[in-house]
Amino acid sequence: MTLGLFLLRRLVMILPMALFIVFCTFMLVRISGQDPIHLLTGPTASAAEIALVRSELGLDQPIWAQFGLYLLKLLRGDLGNSWITGDPVLGDVLACAPATLELMIWGVLLGALIGIPAGLGSATRPGGTFDQVTRTLSLLGFSIPTYWLGLVMMFVFFYLLGWAPPGIGRIGMMHSPPPTVTGSYLIDALLAAEWGVAHSAFGQLVLPVVCVTIIAAAPIIKQTRAIAIEVRASDAVRYAVASGLPLATERRIVLRNSATPLLTFIATEFTGLVGTTSLIEYVFAWGGLGQYGLTAITSGDFTAVQGYVLAIALFAALVLLVTDLIVIVIEPRASLRP
């Protein structure tokens, strides 16, 4: 099976999943008992006004007709317009996504850079001092409530110590965003050589990224430790020890044999972190996709919720597909059979 065929198969397999998710989200928001009409029209609206808004939004149609209409639009690449702002949802999602990605990529990257060496270190002597300390810290990272962590960080480092800028978004008030290339303010500012902007964007990034890093590193430490202990006990590593290979080689064999399960775990964690990140975005007024989704849910903006959920599902599918491709490259036993 060639790579092209493999990709095609995997992409085709995403379609029914996406359809199922669209269906579930569509129905769930409608049976949630929320009726956004009163929010939209205001408390003083007359019955005639309410009926008018209802028919404008298509809410007077039967639910299946509404769903069919939504699907037809979806096929044309139209996610509908937000009921609150009237803006196209697709545009909103695309505008918000880079902010979230920036936060998550930095967070998971740093989380992996801390978590993997810590986990490997723990696994060399399970029960040792280093292991005990790392496990306690990891447990702490597991049990801290996300939004509380964000608030405490802001309280300590902005309010008490004054080291960090206020959590009011992705860039200080004195600066305007750099020209968009990657969507990350920090990288774009560096590319445009706007050093002041870059400095401000970096400062804004630090606290929320540290929050995501703490949340991301905890399970990575735990998983790395478990995987590495298993790999170290495997016949292959025992034989490497028995044949007197140098310590560095032995460590490399352990790392290399842990790579595939680790990568798969981090990818799953990455997709799962979208939810956690939305709380951090909320605390730091980050203006990313997570915050967008949270606002949409609490305000009963049905089309925005649907667009948000679909975007996250497709993102997860993409991340897992890329992971599988990497595994195929690094793992000689992997085949292209999905």
Partner: protein
Amino acid sequence: MLLAVEDLHVHFISRSLRNRLRTARALNGVSFRCEAGEILGIVGETGAGKSLTAHAAMGLLRPPARLIGGSIRFAGRELASLPDAERRALRGREMAIVVQNAKSSLDALCRIGDQLIRLYRAHRGGGEAAARARALEVMAAVGIPDPERRMRAWPHELSGGMAQRVLIALALINEPKLLIADEPTTGLDVTVQAQILDLIVGLARERGMGVILITHDLGVVAHYCDRIAVMFAGRVVETGPVRAVFGAPAHPYTRALIGATPERLTIGRGTRQAGPPPPNLYALPEGCHYRDRCPVAGPECAAPPADRDLGAGHLAACWHAGAETSAAKLLQSRDGSA
């Protein structure tokens, strides 16, 4: 003296669910010697401690296995007191082991040739080209057809027998002074088995390599080994020159073992009942561990038997050794003629 093991004790120490220490006395005073150029066969039923002895000699014990006492001297050096780095340098270079589980012991993420080259260069340094030439040579020597092509193979592409041969090639690539082969020819057909054993015997004779051959196959011992050590419940119960032990087995367990070999079963005489359960290592009986299964056990066997010297290096740990029993005479006459 190449390898001298004296009074080796290894215990498995674990905790029960009630947090009580549980000790399995796996090796209870194992002693044997192996000279340069000599082939020592170690036989015994499953659980007798053959592989554990091999691992202890290589310094590969891992928790819960613990070296409790005894001495392992390799070429005059006491291994237990040797620093970790020096032991590592010995393993795979001076003393090599062929482990069981050939397929899973190879590094799944490294091509066969690269594993051979890696091992050679780890101990000998030198260039890639010299290592490659040596790898090809040793692969051809262990009967791997088309070595050039096999160098590029991944471990998962090999059959069990081929993996076994790769493992033997890995053990021999650095021309060790001592080879410990733990059932090296299981899974190989008879012609290949003979080819590999002939190769090992040849190396022992030509280069003075000491060989410890752990096997279930008494035929292999009779044909290839100079001396034999019979193990039962973590102790060498009888040892001596192959001819002497097979000619006049002095320990009842040795007699049972010889009586249980398949060719005797087919003849129909001297048949023994299929193996009774091995003794419980958590609660070994006082005195002779073979007492419960022994057909000639008497009241004197409640005290631990000392090694009895039967002349010409033939030792047996049995109170009745030397006293000719009718069973011994029967077997002696049959083995003497065989």
